[in-house]
Amino acid sequence: MNIIEVKNLVKKFGDFTAVDGISFNVAKEKIFAFLGPNGAGKTTSIRILTTMLKRNGGEVLVDGQDPAKDAAGVRRSCGIVFQDPSLDDELTAWENMEIHGALFGVPKKLRRERIEQLLKYVELWDRKGDFVKNFSGGMKRRLEIARGILHHPKVLFLDEPTLGLDPQTRNHIWGYIKNLNETEGITVFFTTHYMDEAERMASRITIIDHGKIIISGSVQELKDKAGAASLEDAFLALTGKIIREEGADSADRMRQASKMWRRH
């Protein structure tokens, strides 16, 4: 059973083809890694799957629904942890959860129960009344994961969930994710640049580069095909060693500016 089915997906920004006819499936209740260098088309694909962007061609089904036709249905089926922070810093951890639950239509009583349960699960319950601006990067990530599953999604999308975190925190976060997958049966779809994470966690991996799928398979299959000892070597063999430059957009500039202000 596949919970995500993608066929010949195309996305263009003007003349630039960001996603160029990709096809892949994600099996239900599995952990799936979507890998590729910067600018390969990973985030664009996630944005299409989660109704944030409209595609230019191809077919997409998420939990049996087409994101282009039934956006609300797909949104209820998906939990998303974005690549960039998306919490309201001026609110408390509990309030961030509360807003999410209300926006996703979780009834009040059930919402309060789940918030308590989830905040305890990610070990933030005693910090529930603290403003998010006082949280560390790892705490924010844990809160975002708890928030992402508050409405009981079928698929959890994680776009580079461990970027910039220390090994202890990364280990911790993967512990939660793996546990959610095993006990709740939530399908996990994640991207990462840490190949060891993909190697340890994913039951299936797809590598994308320049908007095209290079290869799909289990970790072992990928290593065998590339004739490499580790996934990192296989990845480099398959995608080449040239460094990809990503242009800084206005969002990046703004974030840098905000960091500068906070320091003073």
């Binding site: 949104r75 209820r76 998303i80 960039d84 807003i99 999410h100 996703f104 969002a251």
Partner: protein, 256 residues
């Protein structure tokens, strides 16, 4: 149907509440935004008072107070609308845009929240003006003034939302302040009576929505206005509906 409506109401409510919480928590923002109207009231009120009186205009503070209330409302409202740009840059907007509720509900929740904040700000400045020496003509009409404050707040929050939906970052902000907000304020009759202005400028003031807010507030608070209160309120309501529709349309086109 009833269930869907309830979900939308819940989304509108929670986003309205968020705006209020953010407002009450930033004490520095509240105090900072009260400094300017107070300065205008004191400096201009007492500074131009004698000249105004000599020219036969009566008490200048009395004339000025409704305009300064309108000023604090328009500034707070536009800022609240423009906050969308910050939310977009710091990510929270995305979180609301992927929720299974309509963009219209999200836009309405935010806009009503911003308008409530601007209304509160207007009421605080009203109280401030009374400390400086302003006395409204009657308390019954002060309720009408509240209606004018709210509709003005809603109108300009919707305008702020519409503008913010078009802007990528805060770089355009100075442009909006200098070429939109300040002209709207100066040409509204908040600081001086519009009757004596030369023809072309006089015509421009008819196209300034804030003119009708100031006129309505002056009518309700000091008892003389150029148009009837009903006419002012009608003009403001029509513009508010138009700007809310425009804001909702532009907001719906934002890509997450």
């Amino acid at each position: 149907m009833a269930k869907t409506l309830k979900k939308h109401m819940q989304a509108i409510y929670i986003l309205w509440l968020r705006q209020l919480k953010r407002y009450f928590r930033s004490k520095s923002r509240i105090i900072g935004s009260l400094g300017q109207p107070l300065l205008f009231l004191v400096a201009l009120g007492f500074g131009f008072g004698p000249i105004y009186q000599k020219a036969g205009g009566g008490s200048y503070i009395e004339f000025l107070a409704p305009g300064i209330i309108a000023m604090s409302v328009i500034f707070t409202a536009i800022f609240s609308g423009i906050e969308i740009i910050w939310d977009r840059k710091f990510g929270f907007l995305k979180e609301t845009l992927v929720a299974p509720v309509s963009r219209l509900s999200i836009m309405l929740g935010r806009t009503l929240g911003g308008a409530t904040v601007a209304t509160l700000q207007g009421c605080i400045v009203f109280v401030l003006s009374m400390i400086v020496g302003f006395r409204p003509v009657g308390w019954g009409l002060s309720l009408a003034a509240l209606a004018f404050i709210f509709v003005t707040a809603l109108l300009f929050t919707a305008l702020g939302t519409a503008i913010a939906s078009l802007l990528e970052d805060m770089q355009g902000f100075q442009l909006i302040m200098n070429f939109l907000v300040m002209p709207l304020f100066f040409l509204s009759g908040a600081l001086f009576p519009l009757q004596g202005l030369p023809g072309p400028i006089r015509i421009v003031t008819y196209f300034d929505p804030l003119s009708y807010s100031v006129d309505g507030l002056q009518g309700a608070l000091i008892g003389h206005s150029q148009f009837s209160l009903g006419f002012d309120l009608m003009v403001l309501t029509v513009i508010t509906v138009l700007l809310l529709s425009l804001g909702a349309y532009l907001f719906s086109r934002i890509e997450a």
